[in-house]
């Protein structure tokens, strides 16, 4: 897994590339929560290159969202691949997260 962090129009875009599994979830948590702690209140996680996510990875999404909402921040996910979207559907996470189909949409809405 590699992360690419871009700042655009007040948003912090985190591009996740590869597998997000139990082994690297802790590293992912440190980096994402680092952004939140720093004060990046509008976070977009770009999942266009995310090929797999485990429950440990999902937990980090939840953690980030919880922290951001507590501080009146915002977390959006965008560009989920079909397999990931299926996982989100099945586990009901589509009801928990704000999910956009494109990055542009998540930046404007």
């Amino acid at each position: 897994m590699t992360l690419n962090i871009i700042h655009s129009g007040g948003f912090t875009i985190v591009q996740v590339d590869g597998h997000l599994n139990t082994l690297n979830a802790a590293d992912f948590e440190t980096q994402v929560m680092g952004l939140v702690e720093r004060g990046d209140m509008k976070l977009i996680i770009d999942c266009s290159k995310l090929s797999y996510i485990s429950s440990s990875g999902l937990r980090v999404f939840l953690l980030a969202q919880k922290k951001l909402r507590a501080n009146k921040g915002l977390l959006k996910l965008c560009c989920l691949q079909p397999s990931i979207h299926e996982i989100f559907d099945m586990s009901g996470f589509t009801q928990i997260f704000l999910i956009e189909t494109t990055l542009e949409a998540s930046l404007t809405s």
Partner: protein, 656 residues
């Protein structure tokens, strides 16, 4: 140092020694060769200069003898030309010359034919020695037409003085002789005409005396050659007047001698080498003499000439061999002394390898690389000791944790029912379940129990993450489920309370996907709620297997007061139910291919009539075949129920 060490071809001393010897021997050979060539050239040059000087001395002595003799016939010639002698008193002149010059054997004045008409064709007064007397006579007759002889003809024609080839005068002195002829003029009525030739016969005994005095080294010598290369003097008397340089060239099969002979005839001087018949090398210096038409040669035997050099070489060689032997022993001794600590260090290293970190290292007094190595070893020994001590402590701690984890695993497993069949007194349900954690403890769970006489509650869940945190969350979920189910009976009610309890103060955002079902075993009516879990599969007694239709509620623990929709369906007799966690569908092989939901359906379809135990074992086997030895990365949980008494309807009915 023992002998084995010296000849061991792999030992340090042997390797150093061979290299040192190779270099030193090469250097010695090179130095010796240069020295030899240089010195040899030097000696040859010295011999050449010595030969030139020697030849010069001998030539001087010979000239001292010959030049006064040459004056005599010249003076006679001059006086005859001036007409100072009466032709009849010439005998007296010749006798006087002989009396005063002991080396002169004879003297004559040979007139050209018919110079004095009254004397006839021949007129040649001649004086010579016979024993101790001087005898005078007149030569010339029809038998001896002297004016046809070489000694007369050559100077007469060339008008120059002429030394004849030396010859043995057998009749007269029985000695080696040569004749010096000088042409003279005479004034007659016709004017100045060539009068004839004045001669002296020189006994060459004195020449042999002078030349044989010369000694060069032990067997070197000097000798005199005639114009034709004939030996005139030689230490080997049999050579004199018998062998020439040309005949020896043939005798000894040495063409170089012929070259020398020709060079000599052209009046040149040179220092050259040649070989005797037995290939013994000789050096020769030859040069023409000023008088007598002779040449002088001095001979240097090669072996004697270079004897001192060869002797010096032998001494040097002996010294070098002695030096090399000394070097050999010194190098072996030094290297072995230097290497001894290395051997000891190697022995200690073996002991260290066996685990003895306190094995003593040899003391090294020198301040060299060996000491560096020894210090590095001491350091390594200490570091290794510390590291191993640390490792031992860590291992102990790890073993303690592992032991605790094993206990935790036992506790965790004891929390879920694991005796099958669980309800032998209830023929309506047959059930089997399996939980395999990827680690010692896991986050998967299943549970089943009777709420009352007819209500059979069962659940399967998967906590986010793995290991100890997941196992704790799983334990909490399982405990809450049992206590809530004691008070609330409807699946949605149980689920709501369970979710609220788990979501409360869930700062770490742990969550659990959860499927909960309540089966009325008297009717076959199943009510169920799903919190984000993988849909279970219904296996109808007749017809295709299919996923249980459901709405996706969110996992437990995330959002308080979430309303979970409840569904229901009726089990028919012979219908089966299969629930699993994502450890099954996402079981990975080494190519990272997932087992997949279709494979689950295929296995279930294939084994639809099997007992739950056989069904789950078949699924296990299929998963094992898929992963083919690749490490299990997630907990695997399966739960299968067979209903043996039920009603007709399999269609779910939403009960909001």
């Amino acid at each position: 140092m023992n002998f084995k060490n010296i000849i061991n071809t792999e030992s340090l001393s042997f390797r150093i020694l061979t290299r040192v010897l190779l270099i030193t021997v090469s250097l010695f050979v090179l130095t010796l060769s240069i020295y030899y060539i240089y010195t040899r050239n030097l000696i040859r040059e010295a011999a050449r200069e010595n030969a030139i000087q020697l030849a010069g001395n001998i030539a001087g002595k010979i000239a001292q003898q010959l030049q006064p003799m040459e004056k005599l016939p010249q003076m006679v010639s001059a006086t005859i030309e001036m007409g100072l002698f009466d032709k009849d008193s010439l005998i007296v002149v010749l006798e006087t010359i002989l009396k005063r010059n002991p080396n002169i054997y004879g003297a004559s004045i040979a007139f050209a034919p018919n110079i004095f008409p009254e004397k006839g064709l021949y007129f040649m007064p001649y004086a010579y020695r016979n024993n101790n007397e001087i005898i005078s006579t007149f030569l010339g007759s029809a038998d001896y037409e002297y004016f046809l002889m070489d000694w007369f003809q050559i100077p007469f024609m060339t008008k120059k003085p002429y030394w004849s080839e030396p010859y043995f005068d057998e009749g007269g002195g029985n000695a080696l002789m040569t004749t010096y002829s000088v042409p003279f003029y005479y004034h007659t009525e016709q004017g100045r005409v060539q009068g004839g030739i004045a001669t002296i016969d020189v006994d060459l005994q004195w020449l042999t005396d002078i030349v044989s005095e010369v000694t060069i080294f032990e067997t070197g010598y000097a000798f005199v050659l005639s114009r034709n290369g004939m030996a005139i003097t030689h230490p080997d008397r049999s050579m004199i007047m018998n062998e020439s340089i040309f005949s020896n060239s043939e005798n000894w099969e040495e063409p170089l001698l012929r070259e020398i002979g020709r060079d000599l005839q052209q009046g040149n001087s040179s220092f050259s080498e040649y070989n005797l018949k037995n290939k013994v090398k000789r050096w020769i210096y030859y040069t023409p003499l000023d008088a007598g038409g002779l040449s002088l040669a001095v001979v240097y035997p090669d072996d004697e000439m270079f004897a001192s050099l060869h002797k010096m070489n032998l001494i040097l060689l002996a010294l070098i061999i002695f030096g090399l032997i000394l070097l050999n022993f010194t190098v072996v001794k030094i290297v072995n002394r230097l290497a001894r600590p290395l051997v000891d260090i190697a022995k200690t290293a073996h002991k260290i390898a066996e685990g003895n970190f306190n094995a003593p290292l040899p003391e090294v007094k020198s301040r060299d690389e060996i000491r560096l190595l020894r210090n590095a070893f001491v350091n390594m020994q200490q570091e290794l000791g510390a590291y191993v001590a640390n490792l031992t402590a860590t291992t102990a701690a790890k073993e303690k944790i592992e032991s605790e984890l094993r206990i935790a695993r036992d506790i965790q497993l004891s929390m879920i029912p694991h005796s099958f069949p669980p309800f032998p007194e209830l023929p309506q349900i047959d059930l089997f379940a399996e939980l395999k954690s990827a680690k010692e403890v896991g986050g998967d769970l299943y549970d089943f129990f009777l709420i009352d006489k007819h209500q059979f509650c069962f659940a399967i869940g998967d906590v986010s993450g793995k290991g100890v945190p997941a196992s704790l969350f799983m334990a909490v979920t399982r405990t809450l489920l049992r206590s809530i189910a004691d008070k609330v009976k409807s699946p949605s009610g149980i689920m709501k309370l369970l979710n609220n309890s788990l979501a409360m103060n869930n700062e770490s955002c742990m969550f659990v996907t959860f499927f909960l079902g309540v089966l009325d075993i008297s009717t076959g009516e199943l009510s169920y709620v799903n919190a984000g879990h993988n849909p279970p599969v219904i296996i109808p007694g007749d017809g295709a297997v299919k996923f249980l239709p459901l709405a996706n509620g969110i996992p437990l623990g995330l959002q308080e007061n979430y309303e979970y929709p409840q569904f229901s369906l009726s089990f028919k007799d012979g219908d089966k139910f299969f629930a699993y966690t994502d450890g099954v569908s996402e079981a990975e092989n080494s190519q990272h291919q997932l087992f997949g939901e279709q494979a689950i359906l295929d296995v279930l379809m294939q084994h639809k009539s099997d007992h739950p135990i056989a069904l789950i074992k078949a699924m296990d086997a299929a998963i094992s075949q898929h992963v083919s030895g690749f490490d299990q990365s997630d907990d695997i949980t399966m739960l299968s129920i067979a209903f043996n008494h039920g009603s007709a309807n399999g269609t779910p009915r939403n009960k909001p």
